[in-house]
Amino acid sequence: MKNMEERLIQIIGKIRPDYTDDDLKRVNGSTSIINEINLSSLQMINFMFKIEDEFNVEIDFDNLDISKMNSISGLCDFIKSCNPIA
């Protein structure tokens, strides 16, 4: 079973269909979503919603701290702190 980081990287691959396998292999726990993956605003929303579906959580957009996007591992910690979908 894939770990959380691997599952997030798979989602990034779906959001960025222009990414090659090599591009995805370069993504790791310390990769910054904001400064290295650089999703557009719409891609970012799609990414968040896919995270909700994948991990069965609900993201509070009003209180979302963008600094959580500074690394994949940081994002994993953030997801673990989200409320599960009722």
Binding site: D18, I34, E36, S40, I45, F61, L64, I66, N70
Partner: protein
């Protein structure tokens, strides 16, 4: 010749939006906000007189300004940046800030020496700024400007004037669910449009029930906190060509078409733009599009608006023209490109305006990029009118000053590309990407 002040925010829609409106999910990003503010310097293209003044939030880079001067873009700009806080709940327009700061805090040029102010958009503080500095405003009332920029207003005119029945206004999460379910049951994916969204922010494409339910839930939560829901739903049309018409409505109601621009959009955001080719222009002429523009202009005037318009239109895959996708009652990137092409016409050429979203290593600055373009032979100069004109230094480098521990920062490389045919453009694009790669810059168009 009258001396003109050019200034204004590029995210005008943010200031027209009602604070109590519910909003679509979004992620606030200070780096992104700064990049939009840095775009203000693209207004240099409007300056036609060396003593015209361009006021921007961030002081223009003197190296870049010197380059523009060598190309023939001569203008005065502010000597100091205007300090803003990145706090979403109290963002003020540049006019509010100019009213708060004294003239000399911003620029050594005296506002009183100017007779005209040409804003990018009419925003809060504009009329106050004019009054304080005794400049006669020539602009529609702020409330009218706000009204005609609403997507719901665009939809109403599209329906009343041209019979377009593709739009539905929803005023609650429940209505969104009802209308959305109906559209999905007819296999129609649709857009949810914020009344005052712009370029990628404020449009969401819904193509499944899960996504619809998530958005409904998101809005219902805001309604419980007292917010008002008001969105436009539009069936997603199979598009062939996105284009826009820049026209001006004079204070006396005369409609003057300035240009037609053909756009390439990326996820509903502006990506690149070029002046329309003859094929498209002739097609629009044969299809009576300009008559429709005239009708729209007259209606806007009878609704008390005059000034700049950027009319977003499209051609569907079946060849049908949709004249009104969106009415933007302000200047636009299309107008910027029109002015760039006016400049380039002196050298018998045309450009394509676009940008790349970049993740830039923290040791690099605009000057490094500029030098690399020059060394690679793809920097446009007056003696060699071919290649890229970098249109903004601050859009490239502004975020480097706000780095904490990151190794890269977000930037945008805004350019106009001057090349021969499509093959030349493709080759030039490859050479630019090679420059990015050799500098270790990651790019995402």
């Amino acid at each position: 010749m009258s001396r003109t002040i050019f200034t204004g925010n590029f995210d005008a829609e943010f200031f027209w939006r009602d604070d109590n409106s519910s909003k679509l999910p979004s992620i606030s990003n200070c780096q992104g906000h700064r990049l939009v503010s840095a775009m203000q310097e693209l207004q240099f293209v409007f300056c036609s007189n060396p003593s015209d003044l361009l006021i921007t939030q961030y002081k223009m880079d003197s190296f870049h300004k010197h380059y523009l001067d060598t190309l023939g873009f001569q203008f005065v700009s502010n000597d100091r940046s205007i300090e803003f806080e990145c706090q979403e709940n109290e963002i003020k327009s540049i006019f509010n800030h100019l009213c708060k700061n004294t003239n000399s805090e911003i620029t050594s040029a005296s506002y009183n020496a100017f007779t005209v102010i040409s804003p990018y958009a009419i925003l809060p503080g504009y009329f106050d700024f004019c009054k304080i500095n005794k400049i006669s405003p020539v602009a529609a009332n702020e409330n009218i400007v706000k009204k005609v920029n609403s997507k719901i207003y665009s939809n109403r005119l599209s329906s009343e004037l041209f019979g377009n029945k593709n739009g539905y206004v929803v005023c609650s999460s429940k209505e969104l669910k009802d209308v959305g379910c109906k559209l999905l049951s007819e296999n129609k994916q649709f857009l949810v449009k914020d009344e005052y969204g712009v370029s990628g922010n404020g449009n969401i494409l819904i193509n499944n029930y899960n996504f619809l339910n998530r958005i409904v839930k998101f809005l219902a939560y805001q309604e419980k906190k007292g917010r008002q829901t008001r969105f436009l739903l539009e069936g997603f049309l199979a598009k062939s060509i996105d284009f826009s018409c820049q026209f001006n409505i004079s204070p006396l109601g005369d409609v003057q078409v300035l240009s037609i621009q053909q756009m390439e959009n990326n996820d509903f955001s502006f990506s690149s733009i070029k002046s329309a080719e003859d094929d498209l222009l002739n097609f629009l002429e044969r299809s009576d599009y300009y008559t429709q523009v005239e009708i729209l202009g007259k209606q806007l005037y009878s609704d008390d608006y005059f000034g700049h318009i950027c009319l977003d239109s499209m051609i569907e895959e079946n060849g049908n023209i949709v004249p009104v996708v969106e009415i933007n009652a302000r200047k636009s990137m299309g107008l910027v490109n029109y002015y760039l092409d006016k400049y380039l016409s002196r050298a018998n050429c045309k450009g394509q305006l676009g940008y790349y979203s970049l993740q830039i290593p923290k040791h690099l600055r605009f000057k490094d990029m500029f030098s690399k373009l020059k060394n690679e032979g793809i920097l446009f100069t007056k003696d060699r009118p071919f290649g890229y004109i970098p249109l903004s230094a601050n859009c490239f480098s502004i975020n480097v000053d706000y780095l904490e521990n990151e190794s890269r920062y977000q930037g945008r490389f805004f350019y106009t590309m001057v090349a021969g045919d499509d093959e030349d453009k493709d080759e030039l694009d490859l050479r630019l990407k090679k420059v990015f790669s050799e500098m270790g810059i990651l790019c995402n168009k």
